[in-house]
């Protein structure tokens, strides 16, 4: 589903991703953990080319991401992304937020999209908020709208970029529950998070990143209970 080959990414003089390679299979749930500044969010943003890379190759669903515009937009339509700060469109109602891209990007008929959007909103528990505006919702509700918005594009892959980090503690669960359900439904997911409980419960594979490199990866049990690398041990020691 995703193939990342030896990518390098620089922000000016800062070398943020150093020779990162990664394969993600269809239906796999990969959780990426690591200290802030380790490049995990950047890696995620490279996967739909919100950030360009300087060298290496990224393949998503058999299409190579390069500077060719149609390729990038084609891939982005297939890859859903959910952001830490929700990034809902504040001038549109919840339903319009969810419907916009399928209608104008996928060019699907509005009536059909509306049905699907309502179904997805019901699935994330927001059937009674369809006419509300983002500012009228709690953080947890906004983030569930953001997930619904991504899902309505019928993506083959979902990227989650620290999606619970901006939420009040009591709102984290409702978002994680939606993500767990998604994982059970077989969605391919790459999740950057600090929620270790979520990683343990859902992840097929946990990746630990530090200083722009993948330091260690394996099953949740392997990485959390039997970390091999010194840096992984130090990081887990700090947060667990």
């Amino acid at each position: 589903m995703v193939k990342v080959k030896n990518i390098h990414k620089h922000f000016g003089h800062l070398h943020v991703l150093k020779d990162v390679s990664l394969d993600v299979a269809r239906g796999e749930v990969v959780v990426i953990i690591g200290p802030s500044g380790s490049g995990k969010s950047t890696l995620l943003r490279c996967l739909n080319y919100l950030e360009p890379i300087q060298s290496g190759e990224i393949w998503v669903d058999g299409i190579r991401l390069d500077h060719h515009k149609t390729n990038i937009r084609q891939v982005r339509a297939e890859v859903g992304m959910v952001f830490q700060s929700f990034n809902l469109f504040p001038h549109l109602s919840v339903l319009r937020n969810v419907m916009l891209a399928p209608v104008i990007v996928r060019k699907r008929p509005e009536a059909e999209v509306r049905q699907e959007a309502l179904a997805i909103l019901a699935k994330v528990g927001l059937q009674d908020k369809t006419d509300a505006f983002p500012s009228q919702l709690s953080g947890g509700q906004q983030q569930r709208v953001a997930i619904a918005r991504a899902l309505c594009m019928q993506p083959k892959l979902m990227l989650f970029d620290e999606v619970t980090s901006a939420l009040d503690p009591e709102l984290v669960r409702e978002v994680l529950d939606v993500m767990k359900q998604l994982a059970r439904d077989g969605m391919t997911m790459i999740v950057v998070t600090h929620e270790m409980g979520f990683a343990r419960e859902v992840a097929d594979r946990v990746i630990f990143m530090d200083e722009g490199q993948i330091v260690e990866q394996g099953s949740a049990e392997d990485v959390f209970d039997r970390p091999q690398n010194q840096r992984t041990k130090e990081f887990l020691g700090k947060i667990l």
């Binding site: 739909n48 919100l50 515009k69 937009r73 084609q74 982005r76 339509a77 890859v79 859903g80 992304m81 952001f83 700060s85 990034n87 809902l88 469109f89 504040p90 001038h91 916009l100 891209a101 104008i104 990007v105 996928r106 505006f133 983002p134 500012s135 009228q136 918005r149 991504a150 594009m153």
Partner: protein, 220 residues
């Protein structure tokens, strides 16, 4: 008082005032309307990350903003004919207002576009929207809220400044005022009426802006 001085305004004067009002409306609708269209493109270019677009736009904006409207009018009306390009009065007036308003408005458009955070672009791009789609459906509707108050302020200012076109003898509101005072010496009454007519033009625009702003208001 000598016989040839008319001591009150008559029906013909009233008609002349109406004609002046109509011509001012024509001048402003055409000049400012075209200016808005140009401003949209210049503003988009100015906000572009491509220097080959943003630099020429910045140059255009600065040159126009930093020279007087009256000189621009003189250049169009008196200097172009020297180069063999004869411009009718109305066209010269419209062209001048168009160019002048577009530069100021472009800068307001740029500020509006840049007020919309990178987050919104990220979300739009991540959903597969291109530049034009993101601009049309996500950025512009939100930027409008930022653009409208100073934009309408600019338009109101320019409607009043359109009075400079009277210097090339275009029979707009101010020119009519001058003609009537020369004829009647009733300066206070005539210019009072002229000022009131400008108010009638500008006030609805002002109200329109308030209601548009309210309608576009996004709580939070």
């Amino acid at each position: 008082m000598p016989q040839y001085v008319q001591d009150r305004l008559n029906i013909y004067d009233a008609l002349l005032l109406l004609q002046g009002l109509g011509n001012t409306v024509l001048l402003c609708v055409a000049g400012l309307g075209l200016g808005l269209v140009i401003a949209l493109f210049v503003g988009l270019a100015r906000a572009s990350r491509f220097r080959w677009l943003s630099w020429p736009a910045a140059f255009y904006i600065e040159v126009i903003r930093d020279s007087p409207l009256l000189m621009q009018l003189y250049l169009v009306f008196f200097a172009l004919p020297l180069m063999g390009l004869q411009v009718p009065i109305l066209v010269a007036g419209v062209a001048t207002l168009m160019v002048n308003s577009s530069a100021f408005m472009a800068e307001i458009v740029r500020a509006g576009i840049q007020a919309i955070g990178k987050d919104q672009w990220d979300a739009a791009r991540a959903l597969g929207m291109g530049y034009l789609q993101s601009m049309r459906y996500i950025v512009m509707p939100q930027a409008a809220r930022v653009i409208i108050p100073p934009g309408v302020g600019l338009l109101i200012g320019l409607i009043k400044d359109s009075s400079v076109v009277s210097v090339i003898s275009y029979i707009e509101l101010t020119r009519v005022g001058q003609i009537l005072t020369e004829k009647t010496f009733l300066s206070f009454q005539v210019f009072g009426i002229v000022a009131a007519l400008y108010f009638v033009l500008c006030y609805p625009l002002s109200r329109l802006a308030v209601s548009a702003e309210r309608r576009l208001k996004v709580s939070g």
